[in-house]
Symmetry: D2
Subunit: 351 residues, 4 copies
């Protein structure tokens, strides 16, 4: 069986394991106050166009999202997210657990629009901010989104402007950030993100590291006592240097982007195979996640040799299924999948 | 400089790094639903004397403590802990953040006594549990404690009986569990812990692993939807197999205990050196943490070559300082420290 | 100006003020441990068909909802409510503040259907209750709903069965309960509510009292330490006897129902006036809230002498506006409103 | 039986009942947006020496404390209180429920000292505010304290200076404020409180009202969206005008202070009786609470005709018991108590 069900099914890139082995005998200060974290932070800062950000390392995406949001908000404030957003749909109520409402709005292609933000803000903040409504204070977006789609720079500019207009923070969940920045047609850089968001994170877990996300806090209002919030929420890893070392390895020579670029290219081959076979794609994703709408027979045929994820039922006869490539996907795995797609039942006529 | 300031300043035991390297290319299901977690759980269960426990892997001690306590308690319930307990003194209010009061009682030798539990329970639960008081529901202990001291089996039996009498859960923080179980004179086994506590955890981070704690939930009342609580609080690691593999490596042939035994032996040598030099020890610790009461001159002398931790000021002239050995402490480091102790100013007369 | 904007714009029924004056010089135990609370509880219990409920008095609806829900749920559990439900739309995120997600489903006529509950339960609880989803544990309904509509006994039976099937509590917000039970065609009694729900409350604030709601906890699972939860959340009034006395006054001779019946009758007259004038009603409400869809000109005309509430915009030319009667509405106020409706611009043709 | 067990065992001053009766038929806007609240706020503001405070009315002390503290703090911040403080000892963990730790320090005569605040601040905030400690941000005091003792203006000045030095808010719980301001020797005014604290409240429940506390927010940093916090926590009373009317009645002609002065005078008579009888007082309280240390025989003798509260056991033979006067205490009740004290067993020799 070949696993295309997610982008975190293998360990880490060999360079990372090598770095771990080389430094394993060293003795380091605890809790991220070490020289690897410092170096990794410096490498990341180089990309931020001069924004004096704090960079914090947290083991996974769910705690990164929850800690940032809990630290950013006052009790009466809430978060705008698309209904399919990870914090709203896949984290078991982690944001509500911190005491804050998620104002879910319909997604367009998996994405939040500036218009939706403005509409919600007008509803909640105009007219004197009626006391029986929470006050939206943070807009949460992911890029790539849960459906692999990405924001154009113009879309981000609009979102950023809408947030500024209403005093909201813009926070970008970058669990798969590499696959966005390395994708064809991406017109956004890390420096743009530092400029246009108040905080974002660079996902390591899904992009070559064993684990770890690098949270970039560009807005000084979000920096106050953030380490204490992390500690209080259990996010401070004793051997924090493990994450510093991994991010240093990924960033000091561009490995992070190389790995993502390769995975995106593989995804494009899979996408082309689906298109050639006449199998509809649910959205037009330029990144490492591809969503195909298949018949039950096709799903069964693919299920023989491949593990993938059911996204959702489309109709009584069709499901939308997800295939992920990643930094660890092998070319022969992709080739096998493409061959299987080509010989799917009901695809002959498409050729 | 030699680091004796903590027991997590180096990476992982070479066996663990080797296992990671060997399995890095494998593809695994996410979130701990893999065969290494299964095997590690099976190895741990072998030690539990037949208790049908759940075993969960969480990256660190602070989230393990907070998630267990948050999942165990109803809103009106509170936790009994000694004032020096880790959850009360070193985790930035993590328990209060979950909405629960910590009822801090004075420690005896760093430990909680059955008597203190009973007194608090009588105060809060007797007389019809007055509605203006929270209801203690969980007693939190650590062994080794923050001062390296440990519980005798008879003490645990008493604590367990006191907790049962008042309907409390007994939860043991085992961040340094190995150093207890491997210490000379220890009359407690993992099976005793499974029998006498409702939950406890086996610390990996400080005992040979890169990271990870194995939380053992023996009481079925604590098992309900515990995974959802973990997910909600950001504790479910994407590559959960990393912890399964580490605990399997530590437990499948007794490595965990061997490493701890060696570190305890080193600590006993350091302890003997302090005693021989006439330097008082703050408590009688049989484990890897030793607390010495030194003059300012002695502290400065030791500070030249060794990194240690200030525990607390004893009087205007003396501080209590902590030295930790660990699974990674080298014999030459110990020898250097002993030599330094022997030549401390003001210790000649002690010889 | 005549106020029809809500049902709490005047003090209390004269009988209540009289009772307060008569007992003002008495000396009572604090916190609701007095004989008036006892008597009021006994009066209410008489109506419950033998259910051994706890009855608690809380000053308002928002704290009653939040405390009940916070006390009922474990951290991983959530609440099903219609999107227009008071807890979801009008209480400033009070439920999320307690750490729980509100799963909002579309309302039908302002009401939650058994079908919607079952669908949500299947989604969250079937398939092994995936750990990344909260677990619905309580269904929240209001009757009358935010739109004045009410549940038929058969609908309640279905909801109750759906909740039982999936292990959910059914909780009924009865801020306007009297106006339901006294409405024409109501086939539900307090005994039915005690049998079919796990908890409900009898609204006093909007039905003749100065303030106060009587929360009825029929399910023993909800009774444990509920007083401590109330205390902890600030819900225990020092002079609790004030609420006991008010509910005793309202219930000991049926005053509660008489007041509501009169207000419902007034509302039916207003409803008939709208119908006669050809002005559409947004829903068919048999209770004290009536929602009319009026043109801007009509709204302006009514606004000259009457205070009412804007419910929502219907289209560019029409708004839906709400008129409430209450226990304190005077017949001359109703007559004036009816006269105004009859002479509304654009209604001549309807006659 | 005569009740001296608390200061809230009777309804309200007749002037208040009269005002309620006179305004009961009026129709008011909901939620405190009415003219009585406006007038009451204006009356209170007259006393504040020009401080532009917000004044909010909340039904009781526990929700006032919890809402103020929850609104004031960020997640990583904590509260300093004496261990006997109401929020620490009598509110069932209400502050911890909001996610914040209470740093309990020993009381001196029931009071918090500037020295204790400074010591705690140095411990938590000096040395770079170590991330494993919460950050104290608010000092909570009560005057009169739980033992009836009060702060001299100089003490308040010192506390205020200590708080300012470390960036803490100073919050004064004034559940019994009147009994302080009206006490002999009090050198503090409401204007001093507005100047020296960031927030305080004027207790109505224990000082003549049916219910209600007036929270005065002098520091603009505490005013942001406070109404939303109140709403979210269930503190906004539908008929908010009831509290406005009561506070207007108490403040428009000094009734509040007159009532308190009379009760303090009665307490001084009781105090003198204990002193004359040679019965020790636990503290030197100038206000309406008096604490006497009595033998078991004396306690039993007093218990025949009087209801009082056990404060705490002093030794095997003696208890400390509390007697409260209040705005509603009658002179004949005081006379009866004094007579009983004079004839207590074991007091003959004292004469």
């Amino acid at each position: 069986m070949f696993r295309f069900n997610n982008d975190y099914n293998r360990g880490a890139h060999p360079e990372i394991l090598k770095a771990l082995a080389q430094n394993n005998e060293e003795s380091y200060p605890g809790y991220g106050a070490d020289r690897w974290c410092e170096r990794a932070q410096a490498e990341i800062l180089k990309h931020l166009g001069g924004v004096k950000a704090q960079v914090h390392f947290i083991v996974g995406g769910t705690p990164t999202n929850a800690t940032l949001i809990a630290a950013a908000l006052r009790p009466w404030q809430s978060v705008i997210s698309v209904d399919t957003g990870h914090i709203n749909a896949h984290e078991a109520g982690s944001i509500e657990l911190t005491g804050h409402k998620v104002l879910a709005v319909p997604a367009e292609n998996g994405k939040l629009t500036a218009r939706a933000v403005e509409e919600d803000c007008r509803r909640y903040l105009d007219g004197g901010a009626p006391e029986y409504l929470t006050q939206p204070k943070l807009a949460y977006i992911s890029s790539p989104s849960e459906f692999g789609t990405v924001y154009a720079k113009a879309e981000l500019e609009e979102l950023s402007a809408a947030c500024k207009k209403y005093g909201l923070y813009l926070f970008l969940d970058g669990a798969r950030l590499g696959y966005w920045l390395a994708s064809e047609g991406c017109d956004v850089t890390l420096a743009d993100l530092a400029r246009l968001t108040d905080a974002f994170y660079i996902g390591g877990t899904k992009c070559g590291a064993l684990f770890g996300e690098a949270l970039v806090l560009g807005n000084p209002a979000l920096q106050d006592h953030f380490r204490t919030c992390m500690k209080q929420r259990g996010d401070v890893l004793a051997k924090g240097w493990l994450m510093g070392l991994q991010f240093y390895t990924l960033f000091q020579n561009g490995l992070y982007f190389d790995l993502a670029r390769r995975a995106d290219r593989q995804a494009m081959e899979i996408k082309a195979a689906f298109q050639k076979a006449g199998i509809p794609l649910w959205v037009d994703s330029p990144t490492n996640q591809q969503f195909a709408v298949v018949s039950r027979a096709q799903e069964a045929a693919l299920g023989k040799d491949f593990i993938f994820e059911l996204s959702h039922a489309v109709d009584a006869q069709h499901n939308c299924i997800r295939f992920c490539t990643s930094w660890s996907t092998r070319n022969e795995e992709v080739a096998a999948l493409i061959a299987a797609i080509e010989s799917l039942p009901g695809c002959e006529e498409a050729k």
